[in-house]
Amino acid sequence: MKLNLALAQIATKLGDVESNLEKHLDFIKQAKTQKADLVVFPELSLTGYVLQDLVASVAHRPTEDDSVFQHLLKASQDLDLVVGFVDEDSRHRFYIATAYLSGGRVLHVHHKVYLPTYGLFDEGRFFAWGDSVRAFDTRFGRVGLLICEDFWHASPPYLLWLDGADIMLFSSASPGRGLNDKEKLESARWVERVSKAYASMFTSFVAHCNRVGFEDGLLFWGGATVNDPNGELLAQGPYFEEALTCVELDLNQLRRTRARLPLLRDERTALVQKELDRILSSR
């Protein structure tokens, strides 16, 4: 089975959801002409990243009667979508979220479980913490969604792997930082390194879509990547510029890799659970 995956590394307008929706629809159109089955947008792709006090005013619910999602759900009749937004729950807690839309329905919503609140980041001040990491079924197999800091921690990708995700879709709004004498920024090198490592260790497809554009002095570096179950880089988007990176995934590679390298088969989850129980109870 083949999956034509498109990664839409877009620049957004800070707090201007309508204008960002237009851009989504434009990139979806482009993806359609390239015969994509699934388009992944970056973290907070509908709102912009450093929202601070804009959070409440840009929040939406992923439902048919929502003024933004009605357009995206309609677009998802033709191809599947992963979009980033601020989700407001019924009790008015605000989450950094991604939604997987397919066939006019919302298949899954992920709330970011790790909110970086250190250095240049201040997410914990403005957002509620998500509290679940779940894989879900799509027409391409079982998928998992994570957002930026979620995959700086090893446990969320590991949990998705055990929950059956063979395709991990990571989205980011990662500000470039750490300029030294090398050709790549430190932040880009770090994310590329762990994406490749997860694909290798979990013998899974790992795609990462990071936004571009400036917000004040922060430049988001783009550089979308797709790694296959062998940890081989299949495609990479440019740094710093908007782009739609399309690549065909041969999903049969999962079988071939895992026949050679049965890491999933041999994973000793009972051992992990036993030791985790011991470690956590002895604290």
Binding site: G15, D53, E215
Partner: protein
């Protein structure tokens, strides 16, 4: 120990020109104004602005005082000729002298501050004339040390080089083909005759940049810097300078009275809505 401040100049160039272009155009402008002193910092900001916006869209303004070194004007001229950009020379002598004569005992520090602020007034006026945003020219070293005049040379609409130490400014300036006399000259604010940055500060940029890199970027404690080979008095002077000059790096604090106060809990980026 080896402290390497080398940067990849291709990446820096790409990010900084992108920054200028983004921050100018997203608010509806297409042009910029740069005060060209003849030194390396303003030369670098100017070159980056020209690369970002195009040579017709950057106005270089020279603002000499009667005692300014003739070299300053000549070196700025070299860059203007190389870049073929619009330029103006607006002498500030007749603007600042009436204030100077009111206090014949005025020390040179006060005069220097007045000149720096007068240049800010001229630049912001030219900003309106040329319909361009003022591009900042302060580097990370001088911002951290507070070697700058608040509301004077520190004033700008955006600063592309404020995260580059002086030695990194030199590296990037060399990569961008800034004329050799500007690269090679002794750094000076040129506020009075014979003034040099390093003479006034009491240490070289090369050495203080290494120390700042450890203190700020690598989060070394002052004690760890001494253990790494820096003179204790030098470390002490620099640490105190950084702390004492924090006020120059901030908006003036507002006394909180209401539930929502600008600066504390009214939080938006400048790029809000763009």
């Amino acid at each position: 120990m080896q402290i390497d401040l080398t940067i990849n100049t291709d990446v820096a160039r790409k990010i900084l020109t992108g920054f200028i272009k983004s921050e100018v155009t997203r608010v509806g402008y297409t042009r910029a104004v740069v005060g060209l002193s003849g030194g390396i910092d303003s030369a670098l900001s100017c070159v980056l602005a020209v690369e970002a916006l195009g040579r017709d869209n950057v106005l270089a303004v020279r603002m000499p005082y009667k005692s300014s070194s003739p070299d300053s004007l000549a070196h700025a001229e070299l860059l203007i000729e190389q870049l073929e950009i619009p330029h103006k020379t607006i002498e500030i002598t007749n603007m600042v002298e009436p204030l100077f004569v009111q206090d014949p005992a005025m020390p040179k520090l006060r005069k220097g501050n007045i000149m720096a602020r007068e240049r800010m007034i001229v630049l912001y006026d030219q900003s309106e004339v040329f319909k361009g945003l003022v591009i900042g020219t302060g580097n990370k070293t001088e911002i951290l040390l507070g070697y700058t005049t608040q509301f004077g040379d520190a004033a700008s609409a955006m600063n592309p080089i404020g995260d580059l130490y002086k030695t990194q400014v030199r590296q990037l300036a060399r990569a961008l083909n800034i004329p050799a006399p500007i690269l090679d000259k002794t750094p000076s604010a040129d506020l009075w005759e014979g003034q040099t940055d390093e003479g006034e500060l009491g240490f070289t940029y090369e050495r203080v940049d290494q120390l700042l890199y450890l203190l700020v970027d690598q989060r070394y404690s002052p004690k760890e810097c001494v253990e790494a080979g820096f003179d204790e008095t030098f470390v002490d002077v620099v640490v105190k300078r950084i702390q004492r000059n924090q006020f120059k790096r901030m908006q003036p604090p507002i006394a909180k009275l209401s539930n929502r106060t600008i600066g504390y809990d009214f939080l938006y980026l400048r790029d809000w809505g763009t």
